[in-house]
Symmetry: C2
Subunit: 245 residues, 2 copies
């Protein structure tokens, strides 16, 4: 399988137990879309080494870039560094560069043994400097270990995205007055004939809306999008299209 | 591995491409917490048969109850039924009971071939009647195939939850004036000694807040929660606790 795009692993007992609502997954989805990096999956797992190892291994097999959120602090429930190292078959080492950063910020005699855990990383990890803060982003190969705290996650994500490339996709939408069962035949045929165009169909059940189904058509270029849209419109009964976007 | 609690698979190109924000995952998390069914993972995947088969297989291996969201309509991108059947090693069959429901609602001559796809299900599937609507919930063993449309998802989820059992957990919180590095040692020891108590540590970086870390302590009974809380408080320097909840 070719490794393309990105995959995310949200490490969060607090999310799965409804103590906080995850903001990092939705934010990552939005930003990756904006910069044009396709996202393959977002998996939210417990703060459990085995669960994280599994999820990170899976993410690495399918995606070029892997983002993790959470579990990189100094407490007992912060097991992401260890799990990522295991998923890569590497040791956990203490990064001298991070030790130097920590001790330059905190007088050495006040650093607790647990505080030093912030310098632990999978072997081969690098620190990406962040504008406006002394705290770097921890990255190993194309795995980015971001913090769970939303304001820190967002800041670190921008540091990472500035280094990656992507290309935005072209999208068109059709709003239709027919139900899904009545348009499925047409969509089927076009989807089958044009595998490089992604066609989505989303029913709307709110009677106050002026349409019953929204169809999205997307591709890397506008040309195939226009062609698919024309084929769909031509295949539908007259008057079925409420509007285009 | 013992299969406990629940796991969710959100099927959603539209979510991963940022066209809509997923509401079903967060709602499911909240409702499962309220009824006391522990949730192990939420995985959001593309509308792709292989990706869904993988995610559903994984969910089934670890969880007793599996919830899917999306991909059960009549269009080409609705592949959840087929994927769930494959994950279970079963055929897809057309359910006569569902055919009867559809034709009782829509005059038979107006039902399109695609509309009949709504009656397709993994072999062995059952239909759970829903109060207030003719449309039933599709379930096979303990996999519940819920629709992606949020208002329908919520309604069907309640139908399912009314049939399942759970027991709410006990939780206490400590708000602390110290940073994570300074409390990690104490939390480590208590977490190690009391494996049946889940201890979470969540740093707060907003200087307007009156605490720096929130610690959550939870277990099936209140007794172990109280014991762990006392041990943590005793282990911390005087004045570290801002408040308890």
């Amino acid at each position: 399988m070719e490794r393309t795009g990105a995959a995310a692993v949200i490490i969060g007992n607090e999310v799965l137990t409804a103590k906080v609502q995850d903001l990092n997954g939705p934010h990552l989805i939005k930003r990756l879309r904006e910069v044009g990096i396709p996202l393959q999956s977002v998996e939210t797992v417990l703060d459990d080494v085995d669960a994280i190892v599994d999820a990170v291994s899976r993410a690495r097999r399918k995606a070029r870039y892997v983002f993790t959120s959470g579990g990189i602090g100094p407490t007992h429930d912060d097991v992401t560094v260890r799990a990522v190292a295991m998923a890569m078959g590497r040791r956990v080492v203490r990064l001298q560069e991070m030790l130097d950063l920590i001790t330059s910020r905190v007088p050495e005699r006040e650093v607790t043994p647990e505080g030093l855990r912030l310098a632990d990383a999978p072997e081969g990890a690098v620190l990406l400097p962040q504008a406006g803060t002394w705290f770097p982003v921890l990255a190993v190969d194309d795995i980015y270990l971001l913090p769970g705290v939303p304001q820190l996650f967002r800041m670190q994500l921008e540091t990472v995205l500035a280094r990656l490339g992507g290309s935005p996709v072209s999208v068109s939408c059709l709003y239709l007055s027919l139900g899904e069962s009545d348009i499925a035949g047409v969509l089927d045929r076009v989807a089958l004939d044009m595998p490089h165009v992604a066609i989505g169909s989303y029913p709307e059940f709110d009677p106050a809306k002026d349409y019953r189904v929204k169809v999205t058509i997307e591709s890397a270029q506008q040309g195939p999008v226009d062609a698919a849209l024309e084929r769909i419109v031509t295949g539908l009964p007259e008057g079925a299209v409420v509007r285009r976007e």
